[in-house]
Amino acid sequence: MTQKITGAQALIRALELENVDTIFGLPGGCILPAYDPLLDSPIRHILVRHEQGAGHMAEGYAHVTGRPGVAMVTSGPAATNMVTPLCDAYMDSIPMVCITGQVPTSAIGTDAFQECDTVGITRSVTKHNELIMSADDVPLMVRQAFHIATTGRPGPVLLDVPKDVLQNSMNWHWPSDEEVLDSLPGYKPVTKGHPRMIKEAARMILDAKQPILYAGGGILKARAADALRELAELIDTPVVTTLMARGAFPDDHPLCLGMPGMHGNATAITAMQKSDLLITLGARFDDRITGKVATFAPDAKIIHVDIDPAEQGKVRRPDVPIVGDCRLVIEEIIKAIKDLLNGGEKQQDISQWKSRVSGWREQFPLYYPANEPGEALKPQYCLEQLRDGAPEGTILCSGVGQHQMWSSQYWKFNEPYTWVNSGGLGTMGFSVPAAIGAKVGRPDRTVWAVDGDGCFQMTAQELVTASVERIPIKVAILNNSYLGMVRQWQEMFYEERYSEVYLSPELPDFVKWAESMGCIGIRVESPEEVQPAIEKANSIDDRSVVVEFRVDAGEKVFPMVPAGFSNDDVLLHPDQNGRREFLR
């Protein structure tokens, strides 16, 4: 039984059938036909103030729900505004489907009004993209897009839909799973690990004297947090969680060492560096983790579990490569280890290694000098207070820069999917729209966005969206009047020659700005004001709150492995430097 409907109706119906409950978007000329049937759809549409906001909201939504975020915008400038979120989602493997309008098929290639080569422009920042040339193709293309975005290594998929394709009538047909798979002969992600490699990994794990579990964002994508915990406890091995994996293993677990990398803690960095086996799970040896690659974990053998075969051997050659879904592979490894143990094999004694690691933890806790009366407010103190005042299950989003690193360092992530940030692309301005998307995905949770004053000024207008759409979030601006991380690099590596990093201490007035967008604005200038302000913010749940913390501009993020340095040469906080020899 076929039924004639328009391409636009088919698009909205297809999105409904893909269980889309929310679209983040902004209409315009070429996408107009799709906005008409949307009026009759149960799908909630959130009207953003800038298309980039729609993209980051879709990412935030996907981060916390695991379901693909959906953004819909028009052609030309709207599509180009979507490039940053697409690239961000691509770098961080966020499932996302983006629909862009396009000029009518007859006008393509004529430099028509609001025409751009969207598919060409977004080719290298999407997992896949398609220009839909016939209304009849709409349902299959939508099914393909969701399938590709959510399977294998997740990522963004873009569908570019010309206006006449939306207007033309078509014979509705919803393709079966089989039709979708048959239409993609070149797309077959491997999810099950190779049994021989899994056995080899199990043996290597039992033989290791100084093992470390190196957990990356893939753990979260694969819903593998429980499996990781079971493995860690089975082999009693410490876990480092990368920036993308914060929350994948509980920070309050005795085996959790926290974040390694450029601004990781000294213990996590050093434990990786000195280990003899890195059990790498859904991580990709990013340059922010390895420091100078040639001197990274020189004595470590590598087990590398990744669903993307291209990650294996890209940076560091694995001894045991396992292509597959992290959850499935970890479960298989656990089974293989238990089989070996039941067969009488013994795990190496790693107690000495563990006591060495504990020693580092005692000697090198995260550190900042405490607030002295009358001195400027420490940003780390603000984060500690935010953390301690946060209701159970709070989701934390951050922008990019110093505040992001302090967030990751000082927050306690004891639950997966409570941390949303832009890791790979490092997109300033990510946090406010991502927090809105996260709140839409998890309306039951408190969502705090920690932002810098530089970041906030890039996407703050989406707080208008939050107010109008009644999506109450909380924003903490750590205002140091600087592009803080750039300032830190100029202080440390450019002889304190500060070039174009000073924003303004007075402008904008963040409180007034927040109020003008329908939010409550609070300014905090001294340590005594911190706690009451946070309490007040947490008590408001009918609108968004912006708390501006005026913080010490001179504060730097430590520890730090400067770009190109070996992890062996991590710079500790100057007050800890005296104990450096304990890191051996």
Partner: protein, 183 residues
């Protein structure tokens, strides 16, 4: 384009035979991936196969722009790529087509015609002062022919880039790294 000849057992290039879905934009996807990941394409030839749904792209990459592994793996990730084979130049047959217009006065024309005949090429067009010839064969043979033609003065030259298939002997090693349903 290099015209250096090389010993048979020392390949200077990798040949990737990439089976793709015959769809708009697929060539752009493949070539922009090479550019994005910093690999140089030495030559590239694309045409439909016996299956109208599929096209074969033959890509020749310099050995120096190794390691090839990473670009092959990245290519696999393209949804439109169905199968990739790395062809060992020692165990595959390669062919290329060359067309050249050579400026040659009528009295010397015989020499170019003779050269073309020796190489078993073809005369495609003859003008008053110039002659257009074609030759298909192994890239080495084309290199030799091109070098000899240079002596007469090549006005225009076009080569297609290699296409290749595995040799049909028992040892033909088709390193198929990705098998799709279509294969």
């Amino acid at each position: 384009m290099s015209s250096t000849t090389h010993a048979l057992n020392q390949p200077t290039h990798h040949i990737l035979s990439v089976l793709v879905q015959n769809r708009p934009g697929v060539l752009a996807r493949v070539s922009s991936l090479f550019a994005r990941r910093g690999y140089n394409i030495f030559s590239l030839a694309v045409a439909p196969t016996e299956d109208p749904m599929l096209s074969r792209i033959t890509i020749v990459v310099d050995v120096e722009s190794s390691p090839l592994e990473q670009i092959v793996k990245q290519l696999f990730k393209l949804v439109d790529v169905v199968k990739i084979s790395e062809l060992d130049p020692r165990r595959s047959v390669e062919r290329e087509l060359l067309m050249a217009t050579v400026r040659v006065p009528a009295e010397d024309r015989g020499q170019v015609v003779e050269l073309t005949n020796i190489f078993e090429g073809k005369i495609l067009a003859v003008g008053v002062e110039a002659i257009t010839v074609s030759l298909d064969g192994s890239p080495d043979k084309l290199d030799d022919f091109e070098e000899l033609l240079r002596g007469y003065g090549i006005v225009e030259l076009q080569r297609t880039g290699r296409v290749a298939l595995p040799k049909l002997d028992k040892e033909a090693r088709l390193k198929a790294v990705k098998h799709g349903k279509a294969s």
